[in-house]
């Protein structure tokens, strides 16, 4: 039991390191080769964890080999579009101007149910609303509506909207982030003033954000310990 415990910790750290080295893409959208590596690594780590009669290196060596091959392959696919197409495939157009490409659907073994499900998920009820639907190499379907079904944007209506940008977190669960204050061009005096307006101290704040336009959102801590959405204040 003790050996399994130690082995589990070693393999856990190895797999964490492997996934970390492979990069963030591995955690999100998986390309075919990345999916293969993810499945194999989990399998390779599990066997020596349980079987103490198997040397630990016979689990670690294949994991490191897969990791290295994956990184080298990624580097090669970055430099060669031919290899990239070979390994990851290329995007396929399934709908063009509201017409389904049945041949392409058969080739990809994409059923009509799958297609309709994807359309519904994306908020389209009919194929006729879609200008282009592309099956991406990671298996996701990118859907672009026809001009008449595109959502109205401020640009279409010639409206000028003040862009606040990405809000910066100034206080997170009572902790002031001085770096965020600095990057937003604010200081502790400004923070003190904003909190005083609400009658709060930094410790009383669950979340405080400020965007480029100066819009401040303050969510006080709930008295019971959890943050209360009802306590939201905008300034």
């Amino acid at each position: 039991m003790g050996i399994s415990f130690v082995r589990t910790i070693i393999l856990y750290l190895t797999v964490i390191a492997a996934v970390r080295i492979m990069g963030k893409r591995e955690i999100g959208e998986l390309q075919p080769s990345e999916l293969v590596v993810a499945i194999l690594i989990s399998e390779l780590a599990a066997i020596p964890m349980q079987e103490t009669g198997i040397p630990l290196v016979s689990g670690i060596v294949p994991i490191l080999t897969l990791l290295s091959c994956e990184i080298v392959l990624s580097a090669v696919t970055m430099t060669s579009s031919r290899v990239r197409r070979l390994i990851s495939g290329s995007p396929s157009v399934l709908i063009m101007n509201g017409v389904i490409d049945q041949k392409e659907m058969r080739r990809l073994r994409f059923t009509l149910d799958d297609l309709m499900e994807e359309l519904r998920i994306s908020g389209y009820m009919s194929v006729s609303e879609v200008a282009v639907a592309v099956a991406e190499t990671n298996g996701k379907l990118s859907i672009f509506p026809t001009s008449e079904n595109k959502p109205v944007t401020a640009g279409m209506m010639n409206l000028t909207i003040q862009d606040g940008g990405l809000p910066s977190t100034i206080i997170s669960d009572g902790d002031v982030c001085p770096q965020a204050l600095k990057t937003t061009g604010r200081n502790m005096a400004w923070l003190g003033g904003k909190l005083a307006e609400q009658g709060l101290a930094p410790d009383d704040v669950f979340l405080m954000t400020v965007d480029r336009a100066g819009t401040t959102v303050i969510i006080p801590k709930d008295k019971n310990g959890a943050a209360g959405a009802s306590g939201r204040a905008r300034a």
């Binding site: 009669g53 060596v61 490191l64 580097a75």
Partner: protein, 126 residues
């Protein structure tokens, strides 16, 4: 690029390690097989003292090697040799010459199997 460098280094280190273990395995099993073969010859020539000396040398070699081998060879491959190694000395001292020869031959076969199972042969790969 750093990750790529790490990957290339790993892809160089891993085959080097494999080659190292492979060479070690060959040298160690060859040495132990030769000790056992000598012990068999002395036992056949009724030189029990020299046979016992060779068995003791084999036991010592096995004790040293098995600990290293356990880090890269399946333990189930090593267990039969452990059992055989423990039986050799008593068989020799109890004057069970036939049993000793059979057991030492089996041990040699097991040792050769350890080496054979690690070789890059089509049998092992496929």
């Amino acid at each position: 690029m750093n990750k790529l460098r790490i990957a290339i280094i790993l892809l160089l280190i891993i085959p080097a390690l494999i080659a190292g273990t492979h060479l070690y395995l060959r040298a160690a099993t060859d040495e132990m097989c030769s000790e056992l073969t000598s012990a068999q010859k002395y036992a056949l020539a009724d030189d029990k003292k020299e046979a016992a000396r060779q068995v003791a040398a084999f036991t010592k070699s096995w004790q040293n090697s098995s600990q290293i081998m356990a880090t890269f060879i399946r333990h189930s491959e090593l267990d039969p040799v452990n059992i055989s190694a423990a039986r050799l000395k008593p068989l020799l001292s109890e004057e069970e010459n036939g049993d000793f020869l059979a057991e030492s031959a089996a041990t040699v076969a097991q040792l050769r199997h350890i080496w054979e199972s690690d070789r890059f042969t089509p049998d092992n790969i496929f």
